[in-house]
Symmetry: C2
Subunit: 365 residues, 2 copies
Amino acid sequence: MARFVFPTPLMSPSFSPGSGDIAPEVLAAQARPALPCPGGELDALLQSLAERMQPLLGTARPVYFLGSSASGLMEAAVRNLVEGTLLVSVGGPAGERWARVAAGCGRTVERLEVDWGETLSAEKLAAALQAQPYPAVALTHHETATGTLNPVAEWAEAVRQASPDTLILVDAASSLGGLPVEMDAWGADFVLGVSQHALNVPPGLGIFSVSARALERAAQVAGRGWYFDLLTLERQRLRDQTQDCPPLGLLYALDVQLDRMQAEGLTLRWARHAALGQRLREWAESRGMPLLAPAAAQSPLVSCLQNRLGLDVAALNRYLQPRGLRVGQGVGMLRDRTIRVAHGGELQLHDLEALLNAFDSFLTQ
Amino acid sequence: MARFVFPTPLMSPSFSPGSGDIAPEVLAAQARPALPCPGGELDALLQSLAERMQPLLGTARPVYFLGSSASGLMEAAVRNLVEGTLLVSVGGPAGERWARVAAGCGRTVERLEVDWGETLSAEKLAAALQAQPYPAVALTHHETATGTLNPVAEWAEAVRQASPDTLILVDAASSLGGLPVEMDAWGADFVLGVSQHALNVPPGLGIFSVSARALERAAQVAGRGWYFDLLTLERQRLRDQTQDCPPLGLLYALDVQLDRMQAEGLTLRWARHAALGQRLREWAESRGMPLLAPAAAQSPLVSCLQNRLGLDVAALNRYLQPRGLRVGQGVGMLRDRTIRVAHGGELQLHDLEALLNAFDSFLTQ
């Protein structure tokens, strides 16, 4: 086969969820010469990054880094913390992924389902746990396919009330960095994120934290393996000794991106995302494309517009592309029924206004 | 904690095994803007890289890429291909890792051990398999801690003769790219490598191939999980659809490094490694530091010198460091008994001569 030829210029990923813009200096940071691996400098870097990530995960617990996707970290949670049946809340593809990963690991899965975009009520979650004391429940903080921000604080409170011994596992893959994640305040036992969504770092780095009681639970579970074994990772951390060589370039990129996020101010960054979301929602409603998610659960990072005008999203993107713009197609069963617009990360209000102007021109052409 | 401060200038990793020099243009390639993920361009890049890696793995089978260390790919092999007991050849840390990963996955492990640096005889391997038809045997191509290149072709032939149904799993983590790996000629069922050793690409990318009969075997094994599930990976490949977002920067870096390796010529590159090894061996023997590995199994990539002069390797490195040079400490039980010198990757004869001159000055100071 011929050598792959990179597209020139690269398609702009703006407003297309899941492939956020990455700042040039963050991309460039990957090219730093490699630190010796394993080695003392690497451990100092990991330690520094872990402490800088604690406020973003909302935890005082240690933070771990691993070359992995979100699904891989779900596998880590399941293999270490779930013997028997996992209760899974499913309202979109992320919830589906929890269920599929757990089944792949040979666990029984009990699903609590709502229509894609909707949110499960805390009462239904509590009722399921009162009926049966599941060892763990898997929740999704943010569904990027539906633009739904789930009430994890409420859910976790309901779980703790109904079944205090049930471990609370939270996928924050698409929210971490883009809005508050509150592991300790939630009382969550495992919270996972990745580099490439709202952290706006290139893909490939998994980031997670785990509670003390979950580590104790893991010690009772056999067949945890090696790569995703929480006790091996914790042992390496305590010894300041990573045995495996992590994706160094992504650690360097995260280091620079955390500088950028701190320079802007986390709260201001999150407020910017929310303001863009507000502007987009008002525009979309006025054009007859209300959001899929109910008002109380609309995401500050990505909006999923109901495609009530029957627009051809591929044609829309062909119109937007020469203008350096692009929106997201719907996902799965929502493919033709929705249009997705990301408004987190590095995007500014003037970027969004440019998109809305172009979108309006497309509508009136 | 304070922000991590990168050492300036970075320590030169030359001649220190496990952290090979990386060409500036390979490092820089990581900073290319991200391709949309998932997407058609990404699949075309993966397909191109897979075909370009086939000659390096010595296979006509598909090649897979995954954000993972070598241990992670061992876990993939074990979870998918081993039910019951794994027979493991152990002659150094890589063999030990096979055993530890398999045990972590809940498999029984039967060890065939030799002293570190030595190589197991094909006869002993055959005898073990005649006594019991293990479902799989785990071999190590190259032990970077001992500088031993194992006779995998001979071993695999012995396995196939003694027990044709036994799957042959080969760790080529530290040899892939630096010397011929011959998956198809060996008749191996799973061969794994990583980016950061003899491919001289930054760390974090796992690369492997798997035989058709091994994929059939995997279909019978329960609890394969998700991240390392061979059938999920194969399904995604056939659909041209990666569901997870791979470490893109490392794919870009590998693409550029394969250009560089092809420009030099693979055979010439390997001959260069061997010539440097020959020069080093002669020097080391003349200085009273013969190699640990027996003559027939000495690695063209890294030499493990017996520290018969009782040198303090830390003091040696303190002497070498201002000259931009560095050698490797012994590993594990060989820590004080050996000195390791890498001579693969980007190193040229004049680099080695500079090291030997400095080493001689240290010896006579």
